[in-house]
């Protein structure tokens, strides 16, 4: 029991204190069968609660599955960033030890070579390219070009090995060097049977991984890829140039004079070739620079490093015209800023629309609520009439009305108010958006206003007048304050609807009358930058919730009446 007036020694025995004392002595109140009353009541109400829950369950599940879950998933994309670390696992690891100053080391280039080569075979390097392109312009084409160009590095070694021994250009010798005998036998059998699916999974020969640390790994990747993606037999496919590069690395690092695995002669000859001074090599860094000189600048590497974590604040920073730099978040240059301006414009226009709706709707609601029921009902149908036509039709109608060769301009020209050669521009700008949206959202303002106003008895106005107030004073001091809950409800409704409006600004907004939602739609459907769209959407959601909260604090949500 919480009670402001606690039992105390000063008040002595008051009825309250006596009751409280009785409570303390007898403990919780018991029901007739001896169980605590609270428990008993809970049991009695449980059935009701379950029934209530069962009644809303279908809608609840439907909303959860079709509305809340997709929205949550969409909003999650605003911070999700696994694509970089998933596509470039070795590179992001190697970049971990890079301090971001100057150019990264050869290790990083080596890691990037293998990562991008594999990504290119998987055809996912362009996706990463477009992801990084949001942060660094040009990254998309850089990756697209590199996917093709990386072969140039491997071909340096591939060509030299082939010149030495044609077998290096064949599938079979590679398979024998790398693959286990069991697997080769099984694969041969499968090839002969000409079956569909069920290809024996490639296994490395015992010892291959220690003999060729790089090449075995590279070949394993190639063989598995060939089996699963291309559904070809590694016995019949010559390996990628990447495998030759890996082999070169192994041969350069170790001495293979004592190598006694399959095709020992072939390997030892290659080892000698690599050791000879005539053998041509190319560093990974030079190879990358050859493909595109952008690789030789630190920016691309810095960008990859910045976006290597699984979660990023980059989308949100972008959404507020900032960017992630190695030194932290920074504001973008003034000429690159767009979203804050768009947010401001959206808020401003929504406010203008809300106030226009109040100004136009209040007198109508006032009139409706003061008319006899029959007339009010007929007029109410007129208010609701726009709902019977499609939103697109109404918006397009405004286009017809407001355009330069449109009805309104024609009338103005005919009246001589506007010269024929200087017709007013009233569409595809802010004015057009505000006019069309005010018209479309007006019923949402009138309805709550009307429902509040019709509950204000006319006797209040009469009372005020009988007390000596003029019509205006009676209205302003007595009627208006009581109609504020209606204005509040209508304003919240109109403002929140308009802040996220899409169709009308899209059609009549031109470039100066579009809202943030149009930008979100652009990122969803055209630029496909869903992360940024999600970040913008999240910010919009937070802004609306903040406004709602502020409204609750100032006006009080209890004062909002919708009927």
């Amino acid at each position: 029991m919480t009670d402001a007036t606690g039992a105390d020694k000063f008040t002595g025995p008051t009825p309250d204190n006596a009751l409280r004392q009785a409570d303390a002595e007898s403990g919780p109140v018991l029901a007739a069968d001896g169980t605590p009353l609270k428990k008993s009541l809970g049991r009695a109400l449980r059935m009701q609660k379950i029934r209530a829950l069962a009644l809303i369950a279908p809608l609840l599940i439907f909303v959860l599955v079709s509305f809340i879950a997709p929205i949550a998933d969409m909003l999650f994309r605003s911070v999700e960033n696994q694509i970089v670390s998933e596509t470039l696992p070795r590179t992001t690891e190697a970049l971990g030890s890079w301090d971001g100053e100057g150019m990264p080391s050869e290790d990083v280039f080596e890691a990037a070579y293998y990562d991008i080569f594999i990504a290119a075979e998987n055809r996912i390097h362009t996706r990463l390219g477009s992801r990084l392109n949001y942060e660094l312009t040009g990254a998309s084409s850089l990756f697209r070009r590199s996917g093709r160009g990386l072969d140039d590095i491997g071909e340096v070694y591939q060509d030299q090995f082939e010149d030495l021994d044609e077998n290096w250009d064949e599938a079979r010798p590679w398979a024998e060097i790398m693959g286990s005998e069991d697997w080769i036998a099984a694969q041969e059998e499968w090839d002969a049977a000409d079956e569909e699916g069920g290809m024996p999974r490639f296994q490395l020969r015992e010892g291959a991984a220690t003999a060729f640390p790089n090449a075995a790994q590279a070949y394993l990747t190639f063989a598995r890829f060939t089996q699963t993606e291309d559904e070809d037999s590694p016995l019949e496919e010559e390996p990628w140039s990447m495998v030759h590069t890996a082999l070169y690395q192994d041969l350069a690092a170790e001495d293979y004079a004592s190598y006694d695995g399959p095709r020992a002669g072939m390997v030892q000859a290659a080892d000698e070739l690599v050791a000879s001074p005539d053998f041509q090599t190319v560093t990974f860094a030079d190879g990358f620079a050859e493909i595109d000189e952008d690789w030789a600048t630190p920016e691309i590497w810095q960008t990859i490093k910045l976006y290597s974590p699984n979660y990023t604040s980059g989308y949100f920073l972008n959404a507020v015209d900032m960017q992630l730099t190695p030194d932290g978040a920074e504001a973008r240059d003034a000429d690159e800023q767009i979203y804050l301006f768009l947010f401001k414009r959206t808020l401003f226009m929504s406010l203008v629309i809300t106030f226009s709706c109040i100004a136009l709707g209040y007198p109508v609601a006032f009139l409706l609520s003061n008319l006899p029921m029959r007339t009010a009902n007929v007029l109410m149908i007129l208010v609701l009439l726009p709902f019977w036509t499609s939103l697109l039709v109404r918006t397009s109608a405004w286009k017809v009305m407001l355009q330069q060769q449109g009805v309104i301009n024609d009338v103005l020209v005919w009246l001589g108010l506007v010269a024929d050669d200087s017709r007013l521009v009233m569409i595809n700008n802010q004015f057009g958006t505000i006019v069309a949206m005010t018209h479309i959202l007006l019923p949402f303002m009138i309805l709550p206003m009307y429902s509040v106003m019709s509950t204000i008895p006319p006797s209040y106005l009469r009372a005020a007048k009988s007390l000596g107030a003029t019509n205006w004073t009676a209205f302003w001091r007595v009627y208006f304050p009581q109609s504020i809950p209606g204005i509040g409800a209508g304003s919240i409704l109109v403002f929140i609807l308009s802040i996220g409006y899409y169709i009308t600004p899209e059609i009549v907004g031109g470039t100066t009358g579009t809202f943030i939602s149009n930008r979100i739609a652009y990122h969803i459907s055209t630029s496909l930058n869903w992360g940024l769209a999600a970040a913008l959407g999240s910010i919009l959601l937070v802004v609306v919730l903040l406004l709602y909260w502020a409204y609750d604090r100032i006006v009080g949500i209890d004062n909002v009446k919708l009927g």
Binding site: R462, A463, K465, S466, L467, T470, N471, A474, V478, Q482
Partner: protein
């Protein structure tokens, strides 16, 4: 109280008519003069035009024809806020978004009265209705009776000479209503204000008013002090509407000055006081108040009139006994007897002889 002439009447309705739809008259040819300081009640069934009259006086409705004068000046074209008439509404119409003190202060503010004087007046008005401590409350935090007092205080705070009240006690329970009836009349007499009070509750009208105007069908049926209204109703409607009444229908046989003889439809011949019958042969409705009928003939005078009756029902009501009888073909004949120690209690089926004095028996119109 006698009718004062038009010239010195404080409130005057002169040949006032009102129609809302242009087809039927809600108020038909209303003439009414009120002296200053009078407490006048407009009483009538709903739809009788009494509230319309009040609204015309307040200025919320315009008279279709005729003139309404306040203190000798025609107010037909004066807007309500310039009439300076205080008004108490049926549901009080206290402004819910203002505190009690702000509600009371409102009429003073619009009259541009200074702050300190305003506060003084508000406090005085609140004290007057014994609500001095409630200035800071909102109307919704008050009980019905308290709201009623505040509404009253608000109508009086700017010291109007005329106050209109539109069924102000309708929403209160019986006990509170009786208490407020007394308080309102007391206040009105103390302040010397003129009050026009509208109600459909006849007890309220009889206990509170100096004069009562009984409305029916857009006309004043009778305008008289409460005792006259009750004891000497001028027509059947008033007799029926005010208090309980027994009626016996018949035909006038003879009119002789202050008495007439009536042959009842059942055959009996009785004497009555002719009120609005003038000649023999007219149909009439004879009315007798239940408390003027006696079952003990010794309590009546010599020329008392007696009839045979059969007891139908006996109802014990505490302070009185209510007995329903069959008299001259009327099964709804009611008598009321005081619960005195020697009073007889009749049993249903019992045959009795009842009697009354001919002057208590009024021959009225038959409609």
């Amino acid at each position: 109280m006698p009718d004062t002439g038009t010239s010195d009447a404080f409130v005057a309705f002169e040949r006032v008519q009102k129609s809302y739809d242009g087809e039927t008259l809600v108020v038909k040819d209303l003439n009414l003069n009120m002296p200053k300081g009078e407490f006048l009640t407009m009483l009538g069934p709903s739809g009788s035009g009494k509230t319309t009259c009040l609204m015309m006086l307040a200025g919320f409705e315009t008279a279709t024809h005729g003139e309404i004068k306040l203190d000798g000046v025609s107010i037909n074209n004066i807007p309500p806020h310039k009439r300076g008439i205080g008004m108490v509404f049926q549901n009080y119409a206290l402004f819910p978004h203002m505190t009690v003190a702000e509600n009371l202060s409102f009429p003073l503010e619009v009259r541009k009265i200074g702050k300190s004087e305003r506060e003084k007046k508000v406090q005085r008005a609140l004290d007057m209705v014994e609500m001095g401590a409630f200035g800071g409350r909102r109307p919704a935090q008050l009980s019905g009776g308290q709201q009623q007092r505040i509404a009253l205080a608000r109508a009086l705070v700017f010291e109007p000479e005329l106050v209109l009240m539109d069924e102000p006690l309708g929403a209160l329970d019986k006990q509170l209503r009786e208490k407020m009836q007394f308080e309102i009349t007391d206040l009105a007499h103390r302040l010397g204000i003129t009050v026009v009070y509208v109600t459909h509750d006849q007890t309220e009208a009889l206990t509170m008013s100096d004069r009562v105007a009984v409305f029916d069908d857009g006309r004043i049926q009778q305008l008289a002090p409460p005792d006259q209204l009750y004891e000497a109703p001028e027509n059947s409607f008033v007799a029926q509407f005010i208090g309980e009444n027994n009626t016996l229908e018949g035909v006038v046989q003879e009119v002789k000055g202050e008495t007439c003889t009536v042959k009842l439809d059942h055959g009996e011949i009785i004497e009555a006081k002719p009120v609005n019958v003038s000649k023999a042969g007219e149909r009439t409705r004879v009315s007798i108040r239940p408390e003027r009928v006696e079952i003990d003939k010794s309590r009546l005078g010599e020329n008392a009139h007696t009839l045979k009756a059969t007891v139908r029902e006996f109802i014990y009501m505490g302070d009185i006994f209510r007995t329903r009888l069959s008299v001259a073909g009327n099964d709804e004949f009611v008598i009321k007897t005081r619960n005195a120690p020697d009073q007889v209690r009749l049993r249903p089926g019992q045959e009795v002889e009842i009697g009354w004095m001919p002057e208590d028996c009024r021959a009225l119109d038959a409609t």
